[in-house]
Symmetry: C2
Subunit: 214 residues, 2 copies
Amino acid sequence: MNQLLRVQNFNVSRDGYGAGEHQSLEQPFGHADPGDMFAWAGATASWPMRADPGGSRGLDDYFTRDFARNIGAEIMGRNKFGPQRGPWRDHEWRGWWGNEPPFRTPVFVLTHHTRPSFTLSDTTFHFVDGDPATVLDLARKAAGGKDVRLGGGPTTIRRFLDADLVDTMHVAVSQVELGSGVRLWESPDELLDRFHLEVVPSPSGVIHHLFWRR
Amino acid sequence: MNQLLRVQNFNVSRDGYGAGEHQSLEQPFGHADPGDMFAWAGATASWPMRADPGGSRGLDDYFTRDFARNIGAEIMGRNKFGPQRGPWRDHEWRGWWGNEPPFRTPVFVLTHHTRPSFTLSDTTFHFVDGDPATVLDLARKAAGGKDVRLGGGPTTIRRFLDADLVDTMHVAVSQVELGSGVRLWESPDELLDRFHLEVVPSPSGVIHHLFWRR
């Protein structure tokens, strides 16, 4: 197990949803408020999108600073790239992540509708149609010996869990209740047959869930 | 504050001792049993001296894997290098850390008795006599823009705390009682005037204490 597949800093609501309903261009997380869901990460010194100096250097900062450590590629679902469904209509629109995406590696976007790769700053997006094992194989080859991050959303993580390809997983459970949306789980206990689990409450209020293979 | 001075993975007993009494060549930690004090770290996948694969990937592993992240130099007290006191008598003996020391950077050993620098694998030991601010300046220059780790022991950490040079500090408090030895503190609350503190109990039984400057 030299190149791990790692879920890092994935956020779910207390009731297990990783994304809200009614995702749109204006609302990347649907009815979920990212300000609520990700507040713990944005407060830390190592938050990758932090513009100003400062920020906390307690427990939560260990998680934000681990985001990029030894990561050579990311795999994400199409809904993490943008709100479009079906064939791509506008190739000029190049994702939600701006001109300096925080990934800084090759990124493999899962989609049944492939399109040409492109590079923004030091992130290159590839659009691939394939089963999880095939896409993981591509990402590992692109990762230059480093690990691969599985970026979400919840449906994509479920697909890789169902294929038993995930090695470690960090999920931050917030105090927010969403009531509906796209589920990661009914309960983290669903994974205990295959994973060790440590549950670590943070002083910030979020509860970190750390899984690794048995 | 571009180059932090960081204490990482420093272990103290429940009663605040960072080393036991009667340090000797045979007993680097005196009457403290390193097997008790450091058990939490040795159990993790990222423990730098791990020989076999495996190990846990829960909370404690975040701390062991952070040991080397963005560290460009270490400062340590003479007692962390070896048990000798006074003038060096045996230059052939080159410290407790074997032929592949886990530091992999320049290391500045504080001593009133300087001796020539030497290199073991990718660690170079320098022996310096100076006040904390002067030695930190040397270490920062050697660190190539990265942070500096303050490696201990407890007396050395106290000196740098007293000089107000420490930026962040991670101390793992074990369940062991030592009763005597070299103290880091009477209580972590002594530092609250200058530092934020988060106290994070680990499932392994150790209690992580995370300090960063106010």
